[in-house]
Subunit: 446 residues, 2 copies
């Protein structure tokens, strides 16, 4: 049987795990390849993570930053979507172990010829997973909706609180981590208190809200040039955020955060709302994959990959995005990196099937952006360093352009225009989180 | 002290319980009255209930039909919002008992001079509250999001199901109750299977979905003229809904619904998704209020009110909307009734403060509307009976007009336009329901 006949009679099975920025690009890049692609994810949507913080502050609706995976790959005839959690990998037998399928008991296995793993990263809580209960994270839609309920619930609690000390604790918001997400979140909460919610409440003065941004390093936006970090810091202070640089969180509870700025120099902040956006680690699948392949992971849990993004000794197993670290040439955990890597892997798979040897992956740095409140952002594009209104317009444009789906772009643009004109936020609904079978009660709204 | 001085020094306290259609209108109608208004609700938003079913089918986002109460009354200087559950009423002492306030233990009391209760209705499950777990209702946002997750999850489960009998059970949707909500829901699910999701799945043929609409009465849309019920029935059958008229649900479980069409004539339908939109009852507060005032409730739990919507013997206590029944002149449980009653009560309170005696409430019937799938609706407006496209355009216009907030109107119009052109639905996200502290797992998506 010739090579051609093999391909025609039984196309190679490519399994892509994870429908984030990297995984989706890999699937798309395979659209004309003679393969069958299965995209596995445990959620039915792709989350546009860079705007998750706007869901958390009620500026956007959850569905505007989350697109069903099925509708994204609908037109790609050689791709299908499987909703399942991958619980293990067997590199010898070339199959994945799956957790319980939707609504069913039991699991299953999924065979592959080529495997692409792109399961991203999550926040690490510095090894204290118990803090998560008091300090939800901003990487998932679930976390964003939880944070929205907590922020709005805190203002509600302050409104009815008689004790001024407790009222201030309800009005104190601690954001841990001053990367782009933490900075953007801090800016939005400051705006909520100073502007959006100011006239919504009768007893409490929401302008008394304190927003503390805790960061271990000595500057905000550590991924940017120091001069832009300084500009960002000034903007944050101007809109009412209090940065606590050189401070590390050493404890979190329902009522307080303990920070340390030097060994022994601890102080306690009475705060009822804590939001986590610091430290990075990877999914448990990353570790299992590294063990199976016998390749190392770094301190942040990232698996080592070759310059062509395969695992050493596993030419048919790729890892990319936040969960992977290219040996000798590590890249930051950014969406553009994952997207370029995804496209590269899709093309590399096609090339190999066509008997060509792909060139190593090369990242083209298109720049870096972060916004700080209304009308202000910082941007690095090639040699350019911009801070202010022009950077903000750039930020708007780039985020709208990369959002998937014309409808969502239009909806988000509309919401932003309204927020811009009215200083309001249209999606301030505290989502009811409990299943409908549970008894009614006021906890619903928290 | 003169009457005028009393008013100036301490305005009358009007407490409105419930931020639905009736309660909101009462609050608004009091905007120029020399009173202080407190709107109490246990949720932070007003739900535009007539479109909740579109959230359940992924056509709309939750925040597009839910408007924060605080932003609605923001500009009304004599009104404030209190997020709390009313757990009891003391008519002697003129105060309400409140359940735990947001994020706090303990409750509290809320004094009033004039009380307006408008806590609406909910579905009754024919006295079998245990069915609720298997058949969520369509009156709350929580129920709508739960139903969305179940419908989309059922198609996902069918996609990976090998057993054809189980696959058909996953593709069988039973809607209980053929009022406007049940009819609209059935039409939308039929469209999901036949059209929207058809090309999203690879293994399962979503057009094989069965949508059964179970109704005890012998016609659909019992609130409409019989001729329109017949037209609606024909439309439902044309778009693929199977109406089971004269059938009563006698049991619901996770795997099946048992219906009875004559005594002893039972049949079991294997269905994994059941949606409840039948039978009506009121909140527990309604019963407490009736007991306290010594006035009767009817079979649907509605409290008897006088022609001026006060309780007999309680000239300062009003009840209105779905929870109230005007003695000798009962009205249907519709949004327009609640809205007109709310406006009337607001004006009646103002009139009484000004020493005037209000005329009894009179309902002006503006008509009745229900839509059945794409491009089709039925409408009764005065002597007119319309079925088809013109009624559908009327339905669109009326619903957009009554939706609160210009932004939401525009967003909904946009989503509808997209759905109309693309036959798609933009909000098909299975919301992550569990709190972020819980461990990860595939159940998340169900």
């Amino acid at each position: 049987m010739s090579e051609l006949e093999t391909v025609v009679s039984k196309p190679k099975q490519v399994v892509v795990v994870g429908g984030g920025f990297g995984g989706l690009q890999a699937v798309r890049a395979l659209r004309r390849a003679p393969v069958e692609v299965t995209l596995v994810d445990r959620q039915n949507f792709h989350l546009f993570q860079p705007l998750a913080y706007q869901v958390a502050t009620g500026a956007l609706s959850a569905t505007e930053v989350a697109v069903p995976l099925r509708s994204i790959v609908k037109r790609q005839r050689n791709a299908r979507v499987l909703l399942a959690e991958v619980t293990g990998v067997d590199l010898e037998r070339r199959e994945l172990a799956l957790g319980p399928l939707p609504n069913r008991r039991g699991g299953g296995t999924l065979p592959y010829d080529v495997l692409v793993v792109a399961t991203g990263s999550r926040y690490s809580y510095f090894g204290h997973d118990g803090w998560k209960e008091f300090a939800p994270e901003l990487k998932s839609l679930r976390g964003a909706l939880d944070i929205r309920a907590r922020i709005l619930g805190a203002f509600e609690a302050a409104e009815v609180e008689d004790d001024p000390v407790l009222e201030q604790a309800w009005l104190t918001f601690v954001i841990v981590g001053a990367g782009p997400t933490g900075v953007e979140m801090a800016g939005q909460i400051a705006e909520l208190g100073r502007d959006t919610l100011r006239r919504d409440f009768r007893s409490v003065d929401t302008r008394a809200a304190k927003v503390l941004l805790v960061e271990t390093a000595d500057r905000v936006l550590g991924g940017f040039t120091p001069s832009l970090s300084i500009k960002a810091l000034q903007s944050l202070e101007r809109i009412g955020v209090t940065p606590l640089l050189g401070h590390t969180v050493v404890d979190v509870s329902a009522e307080a955060v303990v920070v340390e700025d030097e060994p022994g120099g601890r102080s306690e902040i009475a705060a009822r709302t804590v939001i986590w956006a610091a430290g990075v680690t990877t999914s448990s699948l990353t570790g299992k994959l590294a063990d199976a392949a016998g390749v190392p992971v770094d301190r942040a849990g990232r698996i080592s990959v070759q310059p062509d993004l395969t695992l050493a000794g596993q030419p048919d197993v790729y890892a990319l995005g936040d969960m992977a670290r290219i040996e000798h040439a590590p890249l930051p955990g950014l969406a553009p990196v994952a997207m370029q890597e995804g496209r590269y892997v899709g093309r590399a798979i096609s090339d190999r099937l066509a008997g060509k040897d792909p060139a190593p992956f090369r990242y083209r740095d298109k720049g870096n952006l972060a916004t700080i409140g209304r009308l202000h952002a910082v941007a690095e594009v090639g040699p350019l360093r911009i801070a202010g209104f022009v950077a903000w317009v750039l930020w708007l444009g780039v985020h709208l352009a990369y959002l998937i789906g014309f409808q969502n772009r239009l909806l988000v643009l509309l919401r932003w225009s309204f927020s811009f004109v009215t200083h309001g936020r249209g999606a301030r609904v505290i989502n009811p989180q409990r299943p409908s079978g549970a008894s009614d009660g006021p906890q619903t709204i928290v």
